[in-house]
Symmetry: C2
Subunit: 241 residues, 2 copies
Amino acid sequence: MIPKNKIAYIRSLHDKTNRISDGVFLVEWRKCMLEFMNSDFEIVEWFFTEELVLQKQYKFPYQIVTIGELARMTTLTSNDAGILLVKMLDHRVSKIKKDELVLVLDKINDPGNLWTIIRTADWYGISQIICSPDTVDCYNTKVLMATMGSFIRVSIFYTDLDQYLSEIQWKIYWAYLNGESTHTKDFSARWGYLVIGSEAHGISANLKQYITDRVTIPRFGLAESLNAGVATAVILDRMMG
Amino acid sequence: MIPKNKIAYIRSLHDKTNRISDGVFLVEWRKCMLEFMNSDFEIVEWFFTEELVLQKQYKFPYQIVTIGELARMTTLTSNDAGILLVKMLDHRVSKIKKDELVLVLDKINDPGNLWTIIRTADWYGISQIICSPDTVDCYNTKVLMATMGSFIRVSIFYTDLDQYLSEIQWKIYWAYLNGESTHTKDFSARWGYLVIGSEAHGISANLKQYITDRVTIPRFGLAESLNAGVATAVILDRMMG
């Protein structure tokens, strides 16, 4: 039986602020749980239903939860597998590797855009994404589920972009409406930073001073803009090949 | 005052089956309504709130609705503008123009993918999309709103793809995992058909016989697949330039 205060604690992690202050997030879907159990993420606690345990002899120090207890812990409307408490990665930006192409997201507030970008990054072999603090939280269950495994291969950092970019010596590309065509731009370096802003607002004014290269996806029709996830993919496809 | 049976009729159009049998759909959001009023779509009835009318002298034969009446007609949780009843386009496939690039969607069942693809098509100047009958309905309010104006520039047809493609003499490209690289493929013709299947199931087995060219987006990382909307955009970007 799971103590009431443990259930209350896990419920508190539904909230982004509590996740961040504790550095712990929830992993709840069977497929997702298996992915994290096979990853380098540090798992703090394991809660499995009898049903999940019956399928395989797990070596983890799990606790058994009933479906009733789980219903009070989970963010999902239906969960018959269990829940993991997982430690967030070390988000200090000093950990960012600088000799490769890094994605930078400024104020991307739609979860669908974020998970599309994480999957796309993983397709193109990008292993690091730096987000502004007001970009949507990557540790919410929807995002974790929708990235379909890419989450464990792509490291996501949240930091003040103004401060971070001010110290960068490499190229900083910005996907912008009036820049150089991505069809003719020379991307042979394949490293540096690619900054993506929100469709509605672009990037923050104070970041523009750090941009070295403005690039634009040529338009052949009349749409006002491309979805941020789509734009990221189209540019990465040109940068990589 | 709007008669009860009119309100009931409009409510019946929340349902896809009724929309299709009547050939009429609802346009409900202020921005969306203005776009359709400025388009070639044939509007059958106009329902405006006093508030909307106050902003401008409209020449249309509108009826005034109260917010209370509108609440019983709309699919939105909040609507202070009104509702339009709009005629669907003539969907006979004989209307499809054949001397340009046409997108073909097979079993795309996520509304988010459909609206992303419609906007992307509009960006790349694609004016026609043919969907399998089991692709998600483009006339639902969410899709209409999210296409942000592209809907009125891109014609969408629903038809049996097996029959339609069997009569095609042009190139039929398929976005597939083991085809020719989109980075080296010669797309100089810029016309023909590009078939996109669902991420989970690909395209229907019976359509494969019509494919003339299988194309693949090169992968540099480990993600299993790209989102269908993203894949469409990346391929169109290569086809167009």
